[in-house]
């Protein structure tokens, strides 16, 4: 808000942006505070005066009389700043008129006419305050006062401290004195350009008779070089001289010398031309030229004069009838620089004295694009936040998925361990069979050898049998360990026929124990699928053990287990496990693969649920149906893997 309001008014002539903003902000803040607090004392007089003015007379008016041309930069800056400041300071609307005497460029006759013109223009409603800007204007006001608005207070501005002494001004006159510090400007210039050997003082030929040396009069101790004066040169020659300045030179431009009506200000294009041709940096005594090619000046900024003037105008307007006119104000000079010229002459901001004002510095990215930068940063932050949130969410989800997978694997592992536990007896049998054979073979060989009636062929046979049995026992242990292993292995391409053979081998002892007769109806060709071996083994293990349980409960009937493999519907490989057990009640068959659904008195209902989740994670499907005669057939379909061999 504040920045935005400050922007349109921010001319290069005004204070640095920061300062202006602060000023505006203070003003707005105070007004807002007063308004919001309903501060009793302040709004009331304002309202009173408003009602007074609206009923008795037109709005208050201020007439600003400028000494020079309307387009002169100084005048424009002052006019803008004054109007702005007045509007800011005054609660009620205020009329502000500007007139330009342009005294120096036209004959004295014309001034007489100007006076008539003003009387004709403003006579009917004399202004409440006249602001006289510059010495010529003040002189004109003082001279014409008896005939033109004799009672109107005069507030002057742009008057030096050494002219127009207060005592000679008469009553109801006050104003702002400012300084154009020539010696200080020269001193500063010499400090910034320490190698200077010649100083050229340029003053306009219009006031050639004036003696400019006093303005730049520095002692021998301060400057050992030479000072040249270009005061009476015609303009073309001046330009030529400036174009041929020797190195290590400095130009001091004094545009306003002399007194009264003879004083004038050069036009901007002239200053620009001087600056353009000059081979040396130019310093001046007026801030209005900064921007036209002047490096810097030690002077009172015009907009500061305008603000001080407006304060005086306010005091004058608001004083009681009996009050004396407020006293004059004096503003000091401060160094002001043109950033662009600093670049041209190789000056750096660090070299400038404390409190210097630098104009035309390119606004920083922040100043220039504050809104965009803010918006971009906000969008960036919001996006970053969102991205971070999404990343965190995804991390959490992945962690949860990993956790779920881990739990699933742990559960699968636990059920495998439980299954192996159930199979302990038959597995011990499976291992002890070959061990028994090995031992018997070995001891038979010992006996044969001891008896001395061993023949080589027989011993070789025995050893071959021992090796085969040992491998058999190792195979059982390897399979069992594979099932007991906790971590899941990587998916591989495997033949389901092999898978069936492996698992039924593991269950061989159990089948004997339970008197189950197994029929394998395996496809004559390998049926390749892509899967995790231990998981698919578990599927078969669970299904077969399930089938055997069903047959154990099934009473006295013959226990027949049939396992078959085949291609199914082209792209699937099918494994069927058919038993001759009790079958599944019709009401459970739909949900038999769900968790915790079981038809067994001591079952957990996890085995088939794990089967389904494993098969589905392999892209397959499971199914079950009761056989027409007795028992059920479980179906596992796994996507067939194309193997090119």
């Amino acid at each position: 808000m504040v920045t935005e309001e400050a922007k349109p008014g921010a001319t290069p002539w005004s204070r640095p942006v920061g300062l202006r903003i602060r000023l505006l902000r203070h003003g707005i803040l105070i007004l807002a505070l007063l308004g919001s607090l309903g501060f009793g004392t302040v709004p009331e007089p304002a309202q009173a005066s408003q009602s007074l003015s609206s009923s008795s007379r037109p709005p208050r008016s201020v007439l600003v009389l400028y000494s020079d041309d309307r387009l002169l930069r100084t005048n424009i800056v002052f006019d803008d700043a004054l109007r702005q400041s007045l509007n800011l300071l005054f609660a009620e609307p205020i009329e502000c008129y500007s007139e330009f005497l342009d005294a120096a460029r036209f004959p004295a006759r014309y001034q007489e006419r100007s006076f008539e013109f003003l009387r004709a223009k403003y006579g009917e409603h004399p202004p409440d305050v006249i602001v006289a800007f510059g010495p010529s204007s003040l002189d004109f006001c003082l001279q014409s006062r008896p005939r033109l608005f004799p009672y109107t207070p005069i507030v002057f501005a742009a008057i030096g401290t050494d002219t127009h002494p207060s005592s000679e001004l008469g009553p109801e006159v006050t104003g702002v004195r400012s300084s154009f510090d020539g010696p200080a400007t020269l001193r500063l210039a010499l400090r910034l350009h320490p190698h200077t050997r010649q100083v050229f003082v340029v003053a306009d030929s219009a006031h050639g008779e004036s003696e400019p040396s006093a303005w730049v009069n520095l002692g021998e101790s301060e400057f050992k070089g030479t000072i040249h004066h270009f005061t009476s040169l015609p303009r073309p020659e001046l330009l030529e001289s400036l174009a041929q300045l020797p190195p290590n030179s400095l130009v001091i431009y004094l545009p306003m010398l002399g007194r009264g009506a003879e004083t004038t200000l050069p036009t901007q294009d002239w200053v620009e031309r001087i600056a353009r041709v000059s081979q040396a940096p130019i310093y001046a005594t007026l801030d209005a030229f900064i921007g036209q090619g002047i490096v810097g000046a030690v002077t009172t900024p015009t907009d500061a004069i305008a603000r001080k003037t407006s304060e005086l105008v306010l005091q004058v307007l608001e004083r009681q009838r009996s009050d004396a006119i407020p006293p004059e104000q004096t503003l000091g000079a401060i160094p002001i620089f043109d950033w662009r010229q600093m670049q041209r002459w190789g000056l750096r901001q660090k070299q400038l004295p404390q409190g210097s004002i630098v104009l035309f510095a390119p606004p920083s990215v922040w100043q220039q694009y504050a809104k965009w930068v803010t918006a971009t940063v906000i969008v960036f932050l919001v996006q970053s936040g969102l991205i971070l949130a999404l990343v965190l969410q995804s991390v959490r989800r992945r962690r949860a998925e990993r956790e779920a997978l881990r739990r699933g694997q742990e559960l699968a592992h636990a059920t495998r361990v439980a299954a192996i536990g159930e199979l302990t007896a038959s597995l011990a049998h499976e291992i002890n069979q070959p061990l028994a054979a090995i031992l018997s073979n070995a001891q038979a060989a010992q006996r044969l050898l001891a008896a001395g009636n061993a023949n080589g062929g027989e011993i070789a046979e025995i050893l071959a049998d021992i090796a085969a049995d040992d491998q058999r026992a190792g195979e059982v242990i390897r399979r069992m360990r594979g099932l007991l292993r906790k971590e899941e292995s990587e998916p591989i391409t495997l033949d389901v026929n092999n898978l069936v053979v492996e698992v039924t081998a593991l269950l061989h002892g159990e089948m004997i124990l339970q008197n189950v007769s197994l029929t394998l109806d395996l496809s004559p060709i390998p049926l390749w699928v892509h899967g995790v071996r231990v998981q698919l083994q578990q599927v078969l293990l669970n299904m077969i053990m399930n089938a055997m349980d069903a047959m154990k409960d099934g009473g006295s009937g013959e226990r027949k287990l049939k396992i078959g493999t085949s291609r199914s519907e082209g792209r699937f490989v099918r494994i069927v496990v058919a038993d001759s057990g009790v079958g599944i009640p019709a009401e459970s068959i739909e949900r038999i693969f769900d968790r915790f659904v079981t038809t067994k008195p001591h079952g957990m209902g996890l085995g088939l649920a794990i089967c389904r989740s494993i098969v589905e994670s392999h892209g397959g499907r499971v199914g079950v149906e009761n056989n027409p005669d007795r028992g059920v057939t479980f179906r596992v379909d796994l996507p067939a893997e194309k193997v090119t061999t």
């Binding site: 038959s426 011990a428 002890n432 028994a436 018997s440 001891q443 038979a444 008896a451 049998d465 002892g509």
Partner: protein, 204 residues
């Protein structure tokens, strides 16, 4: 020395083969069977034999074979071997008359010791069986009257008491007793009693 036969019944070919080798090396005659049914189909002679029987087998298992043999009155001593023996199974086996119960893998010496015990049992059984048959033959030579007298004699009755019980003269009883003792080849009443015990003949 007569044949000492060990029947090995195991569904596992490698076990059959290794046991066969071992026992042959130890000097036995070995006959192997892949299943209990195969063994039941085998004609059994009266011979000195024992059985090395796997408990767990497809089809008829070891315990069921034991029961079937008992039912068929074939008293061949059985040594059970098992891959994973549990207590209920072993108790059942021993109650059924098994001579030993070995867990696989077993040491050859243990097995052979068990086989020796079983064969000793078998030898005793064969001897008793032979004796019993002998006594039965002698008993078969007695007339019904003599058999009647025999029952009274083995209860320790005197001729006079027997005569009173059977309503015959003491003299007649005395003649019968003499024939009984001669036919039964008993030299004393005590010996006659022992022979009758073997056949399970009791007093009236």
């Amino acid at each position: 020395m007569s044949r000492r036969i060990v029947f090995v019944i195991d569904d596992e070919p490698s076990v059959r083969r290794s046991l066969s080798r071992l026992l042959k090396a130890a000097g036995y005659d070995v006959e192997v069977f892949a299943s209990a049914q195969d063994f039941l189909r085998h004609e059994s002679d009266e011979e000195l034999a024992c059985l090395v029987l796997d408990v767990k087998m497809p089809g008829l298992n070891g315990l069921e074979l034991q029961e079937a043999l008992t039912a068929a009155n074939r008293h061949v001593p059985i040594i059970f071997v098992t891959g994973h023996g549990d207590i209920p199974t072993s108790v059942r086996a021993m109650r059924g008359g098994a001579t030993d119960f070995l867990s696989k893998p077993f040491d050859a010496d243990n097995l052979i010791a068990a086989i020796e015990r079983a064969l000793e049992t078998a030898r005793k059984q064969l001897k008793e069986e032979a004796e019993r048959r002998e006594i039965e033959q002698r008993l078969a030579e007695l007339t019904p009257r003599e058999q009647e007298v025999l029952r009274h004699v083995i209860t320790g009755e005197l001729n006079k008491q027997i005569a009173g019980n059977l309503g015959a003269s003491e003299k007649t009883i005395k003649v019968h007793r003499g024939r009984v003792m001669r036919k039964m080849q008993a030299h004393s009443v005590a010996e006659l009693v022992r022979l009758c015990e073997k056949l399970g003949i009791r007093g009236p």
